[in-house]
Subunit: 151 residues, 2 copies
């Protein structure tokens, strides 16, 4: 499917491509891209199994890659597109990055940061939820269904 | 000063050595070590300025290094010693690591994870606070005092 260029759906579709790479690598299929001035400056997918590292979430790698690209720590003019709602660790990193926008595919009612009663993102960070939600959720559901059937 | 070998003070002093490296490098002086069976398996200090990376907190690097050392993601038999109370990001990472104990030097009333109303660490993680508190706090105070005087 094609999406209007530079729309939230367009960039979420890029994050979904990353999530698909994770799926193919037998990782929990979550992908992320960071966009600034309509340019993807970082892309990553979950690699916790391959790297044996609980901190190797898509978002964490994307924050690091974006900062490397910019040569600067802060992402006040950037948007994170992530296929699944960030966990507390990743939302804590988003706070430090002061990222301008966080665009989320599907919610994570169990481990998502918004399960906390307090908002832990930066107060200036704008949040948009539910972009390509069906596609982002379906990928997760397929993954965990396959896992259950293989156990 | 010398501390009883393998005591919490002994290992916190190792974390303090790391914090001192951060101080000397003009980084916010926070250090961490991860210990398993009385052996330091990871040591790190804050490098957010040098690496231009808001995720480069001492604890995050230590989690990654410990997992690399063990070749395993989880740290259920390990203890994190950190000179300053972890932030929300680092506590979120500690949650995923399932680390057995977190030993903290001095509190961070502003950005520490315990400023949240909910406990975001793993329910099995034991927390000890105030080990070498005076030394850990003094290093932070000296750093920020110098920063103020130089601005």
């Amino acid at each position: 499917m094609s999406y209007t260029i530079y729309s939230d759906e367009y960039f979420m579709n890029e994050a979904l491509k990353e999530a698909n790479y994770a799926f193919e690598a037998d990782e929990v299929p979550i992908g992320a891209v960071i966009v600034m001035k309509n340019k993807v400056i970082a892309r990553a997918h979950n690699l916790t199994e391959k790297l044996n590292d609980v901190t190797a979430h898509a978002e964490m790698q994307a924050f690091t890659a974006a900062a490397n690209y910019l040569g600067a720590k802060y992402l006040q003019e950037a948007t994170l597109y992530v296929t699944v709602e960030p966990c507390i660790m990743c939302a804590g990193a988003a706070y430090w990055s002061q990222i301008q926008r966080v665009v989320i595919g599907t919610s994570d009612n169990k481990r998502g940061y918004s399960s906390l009663s307090e908002n832990i993102l930066h107060p200036k960070t704008e949040v948009v939820k539910g972009v390509l939600e069906t596609e982002c959720r379906a990928l997760m559901q397929t993954f965990f269904q396959m896992k259950r059937e293989n156990n």
